[in-house]
C-alpha cells in the first residue's frame, strides 16, 4: 500500500489511494458480515454432521457422536466457534473438511473448473443467442417470425430445467445415441490432451444446452422489449432519415442502446455462475460446485459450506465491479455522469 502511495504524487494520487483504501475497507467489512451471517445461518439448521453420519450408518453410540463432535470442533460454544472461524477468514484460511478429510480450498479448487466450464459456456451461449434472437424479434415486432421466437423463448423459460435436461438425454443419448448422457469425460480411457478436450466438449453439449435455455429465454425477452422501445426513439428516426441502412441502424444505434438492461440482468446472474447449477449438475452427474454445495448442506459439512459462501461472496463483489466497468464500455455516458 505505502509503496503505491509513494509513487503517486499530488492530491490526485492521494485521492486514488484513499478511494482504493475506502473500497478495500468496505470490501473487508462486507466479507466479515457475510461470514458472520453465513455462520449463523448454517448453524441455525437442525441437526449436525455427527447426527448425519450416525443417520447414514444405521448404528451409533454415545462415543461415536461425542468423538465426531469433538473432531469437528462442535463441542465448543457457538461464540468460540464463530471467533475461530472469523480468525481463519481474516488469515485467508478456509479450514478443513473432516467429513471429506481434505482442506476446503482443495475441495473448491477441484470443483471450480468443471463448474466454470459449464456455467461459463452456458452463460456465453445464452448471451450470444439470446441477444441475437431478441434483436431479430424486436426489429420484426408483430411479424410471424417474432411470434415464433417469442413462443419458443417463453417455452424455454417456462420449462423446468431438469425436465428439459432429461428430455434432451432421452432424445440425443437414448434414442439417437449421439451424445453421452452424463459425466464430464470418458472414464478409464487414456487420451491425448486434444482427444480429451474433444471428449469433454462432447460431454458438455447437453448440460450446456439445458442450462443455457433458461438464461437464453430471459435475455431474448429482455432484448426484444428493449429493442422495440429504442426503435421508437427520435434518434433512430433521425438515423433513418439521414439515410442509414437498416443493418447499420440496428447494430450501431439500436443494439448498443438496447443492450444495457441485458448487461444489468446478466451481471446479476453472473454471480450464480460460481454457485454452479445444482439441478443440471445432478441430472448430468457433472462434478461441479453446485453439487458440492448441495451435499454440504445435507451433510451439514459446515467448513465446506462456509468456504463456498465466502468464496462466492468475494466473487460476486468482484463481478459487480466488472459489471460496472462493462456499463462504461457499452455506454460512455455512465462514466461521464459518475465523474461529474
Amino acid at each position: 500500500m505505502s509503496s503505491i502511495a509513494l509513487r503517486l504524487t499530488g492530491s490526485r494520487g492521494i485521492a486514488v489511494v484513499l478511494a482504493v483504501a475506502g473500497w478495500l475497507a468496505k470490501f473487508v467489512a462486507v466479507v466479515l458480515v457475510i461470514a458472520t451471517f453465513s455462520f449463523l445461518l448454517v448453524h441455525a439448521a437442525p441437526g449436525d454432521p455427527a447426527q448425519v453420519i450416525a443417520g447414514q450408518s444405521g448404528a451409533a453410540d454415545d462415543k461415536l457422536l461425542s468423538q465426531l463432535r469433538e473432531e469437528y470442533g462442535l463441542d465448543k460454544p457457538y461464540i468460540v466457534q464463530l471467533a475461530t472461524y472469523l480468525k481463519r477468514v481474516v488469515t485467508l484460511d478456509l479450514g478443513y473438511s473432516y467429513r471429506q478429510q481434505r482442506p476446503v480450498l482443495t475441495l473448491l479448487a477441484e470443483r471450480m473448473p468443471a463448474t466454470l466450464l459449464l456455467t461459463g459456456s452456458a452463460f456465453l451461449l445464452a448471451l450470444i443467442v439470446g441477444i441475437t434472437l431478441g434483436t431479430l424479434a424486436g426489429v420484426r415486432a408483430g411479424k410471424w417470425s417474432d411470434m415464433m421466437l417469442t413462443v419458443i423463448s417463453l417455452l424455454f423459460y417456462a420449462m423446468p430445467v431438469f425436465w428439459l435436461g432429461l428430455m434432451l438425454v432421452l432424445l440425443f443419448s437414448v434414442q439417437l445415441d449421439w451424445l453421452p448422457a452424463f459425466g464430464y469425460v470418458t472414464i478409464g480411457v487414456p487420451m491425448t490432451p486434444i482427444a480429451r478436450a474433444r471428449d469433454i466438449l462432447w460431454h458438455l453439449t447437453l448440460p450446456v444446452m439445458s442450462l443455457a435455455a433458461v438464461y437464453l429465454a430471459i435475455y431474448a425477452r429482455l432484448m426484444r422489449s428493449s429493442v422495440i422501445d429504442i426503435t421508437h426513439q427520435d434518434f433512430i428516426k433521425t438515423a433513418r432519415a439521414k439515410g442509414l441502412k437498416q443493418g447499420r441502424v440496428v447494430v450501431r444505434h439500436i443494439l448498443r442502446n438496447a443492450i444495457l438492461p441485458v448487461v444489468t440482468v446478466a451481471g446479476m446472474q453472473a454471480g450464480s455462475l460460481v454457485g454452479g447449477a445444482v439441478v443440471i449438475e445432478t441430472v448430468f452427474a457433472w462434478p461441479g460446485l453446485g453439487r458440492l454445495t448441495y451435499d454440504a448442506v445435507l451433510q451439514r459439512d459446515y467448513p465446506v459450506l462456509l468456504g463456498i459462501f465466502l468464496v462466492m461472496s468475494v466473487i460476486v463483489i468482484i463481478l459487480n465491479l466488472v459489471t460496472d466497468a462493462t456499463y462504461r464500455l457499452v455506454d460512455p455516458r455512465v462514466t461521464t455522469r459518475s465523474a461529474s
Binding site: 448425519v52 448404528a59 467429513r99 477441484e110 438425454v169 448422457a181 472414464i187 441430472v283
Partner: protein
C-alpha cells in the same frame, strides 16, 4: 445343532476350504480374465476407510479394499475369509482363527495376526460403534504365531462368529495406524487394505477407480482388472446408464422401485434381490411410546390392523420384499413365524380405538398426530403418504412433516417425534441387529437407531439377554421365539415390510452375488465373460 456340533461344522468347512484351494486354481483357469466393471456408487462416500465410516456406500465400495476373517453364505453360515479355518471351544469362550498364509496389504506389507488383533481390539473399539458392541465382550486376544489369532471372551456370546464380515470387522494395517490419530491419519486418503482391489484414483464428484491388487493371497484372484464406481446422483440418469450399458451393475436403491419392473424386462440384464440376507433391512412405522395415545397397546394394535401392508408392498414397494410379521426378519436366524397375525381390518382397528375412548369428532377425526417423513428418498415419501391415507380411514389424522437427514436424525434421536418410518439392518443375528430396538438398556437419548420408541418390558429384556449368551442354538431359538411372541402382541413398533433391494446385473457379468453380503463382497471371483 448344539454349540459343539456348530464348531465342528466350522472346522469341516475350514478343512474343505483348504482342500479347495487347488480346485479354485483350476477353476480359475477356466474363467475369463481381465476387463473393467463399471458400476454406481451413490451417494458419494466421504472416505473409503470402512473402519472409520460405516455409511452404506462406504461399505459397498470398501468391501473390495478391506477384508475380514470370515464370509457368510446365504444362510449366514460362516465360510473362510482371511481365516482359512476356525475353532470354538466347547464352553463358547475361546475362538481360534487360522489365517491364510501370504496375505499382503496394498503397500506390500504382510498381514499377520498382530494386524488382526490391533484392528479388532484397538482401532475398531475406538472408531466403529457396531463393532464396539461385540468386541467389548472380548477379554483378551492373543497371537500364538503370526497366522493364529485367539479371542477369549468374558462370557459366552453366541453371535460372536457372526461379527467377522468385512463391514463389521475390517482388518487394517497396524504399521500404518498404530499410535496415530486414526481419523486424521494421512494414509486414510490411500485406503490401504488387503482386499483384491486397491484404490487408484478418486475424482471427487465423478468416480472412484479401483485396480487389481497384484499380491492378493487367493491365487488367480481377482479376475477383473479394474472396477470403476461412478457417482451418478440422479435416479433417472442411473437408469439410463444401466439401459445404455454404461454401467453393468446396480445395487441398493440405485434404481427407483418404480423403474424395477421396466428395467427387469431388458434382455441384457438379470435382476436378483439376493445378497442382502446379512443386512435383512426391516422397514417399520415407529411410534414414540412415551406419549399418548402411542403409550396404549390398543392404539398400536389398531394401527397395525389399519394398514393394508400387502397393498403397501404391492403399490409403493412394487412387490420388492415381504410383509414383515414381527421384529425378526424371515431372512435372519431364529425367525419365528407362529406369532399373532394382524390381518388388514378397519373394523378391528376402529373397535380398539373406540374401546380406548378415542371417539371420532364431527369431522370423523379421532386424533391428529405429527409424522416425520424419513429423508431416505422417493419411496419413503410415497410410503408415508400411503400411511396417512390408511390411518385416515380409521380417524387417525397424520400430519406429514418433511425434514432432511440431519433434522430427522436430531428430532428422532432426541425423541422429539410422535411417528416416523425407520429402517434397520439385522446384521445376521437378533443379538446384533434386533434386540437394540427393544431392550431398556438401549434407551439412549440423542442417539439414532437405539431404542428410540422408549418401549420397556423387563420380560423382553431378560429374554433377549439370555438368548444372546445361550450356547446352544435350540435354546436360543426357544428364547427368541418367546420374545417374538411377546413383542408381536405388544406392538412396540408397527412392522411393515422386509424390504428387498434389486441388483441389476449385466448378463456378461458372472459370480456377482455369492454371499449374504452380496455387493459388499470382495468381487475377487467376479468376471466379465
Amino acid at each position: 445343532m448344539n454349540r459343539r456340533e456348530f464348531s465342528k461344522l466350522g472346522l469341516v468347512t475350514g478343512a474343505l476350504s483348504i482342500s479347495s484351494i487347488p480346485l479354485g486354481l483350476s477353476r480359475a483357469e477356466g474363467q475369463t480374465r481381465g476387463g473393467i466393471l463399471n458400476t454406481i456408487i451413490q451417494p458419494e462416500p466421504p472416505i473409503l476407510v470402512t473402519a472409520l465410516n460405516q455409511q452404506q456406500p462406504t461399505l459397498t465400495l470398501g468391501g473390495k479394499i478391506y477384508e475380514s476373517l470370515l464370509r457368510y453364505d446365504f444362510d449366514l453360515k460362516p465360510i473362510p475369509g482371511l481365516a482359512q479355518s476356525w475353532d470354538v471351544s466347547p464352553d463358547g469362550l475361546t475362538y481360534t482363527f487360522k489365517l491364510f498364509p501370504k496375505i499382503t496389504f496394498h503397500d506390500g506389507t504382510p498381514l499377520t495376526a498382530d494386524d488382526v488383533i490391533f484392528s479388532v481390539m484397538t482401532l475398531l473399539m475406538e472408531t466403529h460403534a457396531r463393532a464396539r458392541g461385540t468386541f467389548a465382550r472380548v477379554e483378551k486376544a492373543e497371537a500364538p504365531d503370526p497366522l493364529t489369532v485367539v479371542f477369549k471372551l468374558k462370557a459366552p456370546f453366541a453371535p460372536f462368529l457372526g461379527a467377522f464380515d468385512c463391514t463389521t470387522a475390517p482388518i487394517l494395517p497396524k504399521h500404518i495406524y498404530d499410535g496415530s490419530d486414526y481419523r486424521k491419519n494421512p494414509a486414510n486418503a490411500r485406503a490401504i487394505g488387503c482386499g483384491p482391489f486397491k484404490l487408484k484414483e478418486w475424482v471427487r464428484g465423478s468416480h472412484i477407480h479401483l485396480v487389481k491388487h497384484q499380491g492378493y493371497y487367493r491365487a488367480g484372484e481377482p479376475y477383473l482388472d479394474e472396477i470403476i464406481y461412478r457417482v451418478i446422483p440422479d435416479a433417472a440418469s442411473r437408469s439410463v446408464a444401466l439401459e445404455q450399458g454404461t454401467v453393468q451393475l446396480t445395487q441398493w436403491s440405485d434404481v427407483d422401485a418404480f423403474d424395477v419392473s421396466r428395467l427387469s424386462k431388458l434382455p441384457n440384464l438379470d435382476m436378483t434381490t439376493k445378497g442382502y440376507e446379512f443386512f435383512a433391512p426391516h422397514q417399520w412405522l415407529e411410534m414414540n411410546t412415551r406419549i399418548a395415545p402411542m403409550n396404549d397397546k390398543r392404539f398400536r394394535q389398531a394401527v397395525m390392523y389399519a394398514i393394508d401392508r400387502k397393498a403397501l408392498l404391492a403399490r409403493v414397494f412394487f412387490g420388492l420384499g415381504r410383509v414383515a410379521t414381527g421384529p425378526v426378519s424371515s431372512k435372519t436366524r431364529f425367525y419365528e413365524k407362529d406369532v399373532k397375525q394382524y390381518d388388514y381390518s378397519l373394523d378391528k382397528a376402529k373397535a380398539l380405538l373406540d374401546d380406548m375412548g378415542l371417539k371420532p369428532g364431527a369431522d370423523g377425526k379421532r386424533i391428529t398426530i405429527p409424522y416425520l417423513v424419513p429423508p431416505y428418498g422417493e419411496t419413503m415419501q410415497r410410503a408415508s403418504e400411503f400411511l396417512r391415507q390408511s390411518l385416515g380411514r380409521v380417524g387417525i389424522d397424520l400430519q406429514l412433516q418433511g425434514v432432511d437427514l440431519a433434522g430427522w436424525a436430531e428430532k428422532f434421536g432426541n425423541w422429539e417425534f410422535s411417528m416416523t418410518m425407520n429402517l434397520l439392518y439385522q446384521f445376521g443375528d437378533p443379538a446384533l441387529g434386533v434386540s437394540r430396538t427393544y431392550i431398556s438398556s438401549n434407551i439412549r437419548k440423542g442417539i439414532p437407531f437405539t431404542n428410540t420408541s422408549g418401549y420397556s418390558n423387563p420380560d423382553v429384556d431378560r429374554l433377549f439377554e439370555e438368548a444372546a449368551v445361550a450356547t446352544s442354538d435350540a435354546k436360543r431359538q426357544e428364547l427368541y421365539s418367546a420374545v417374538q411372541k411377546v413383542l408381536v402382541e405388544e406392538v412396540p413398533i408397527v412392522w411393515l415390510i422386509e424390504q428387498d433391494y434389486p441388483n441389476f446385473i449385466d448378463k456378461k457379468l458372472k459370480n456377482v452375488i455369492t454371499t449374504a453380503i452380496g455387493v459388499h463382497e470382495t468381487f475377487g471371483t467376479v468376471s466379465l465373460g
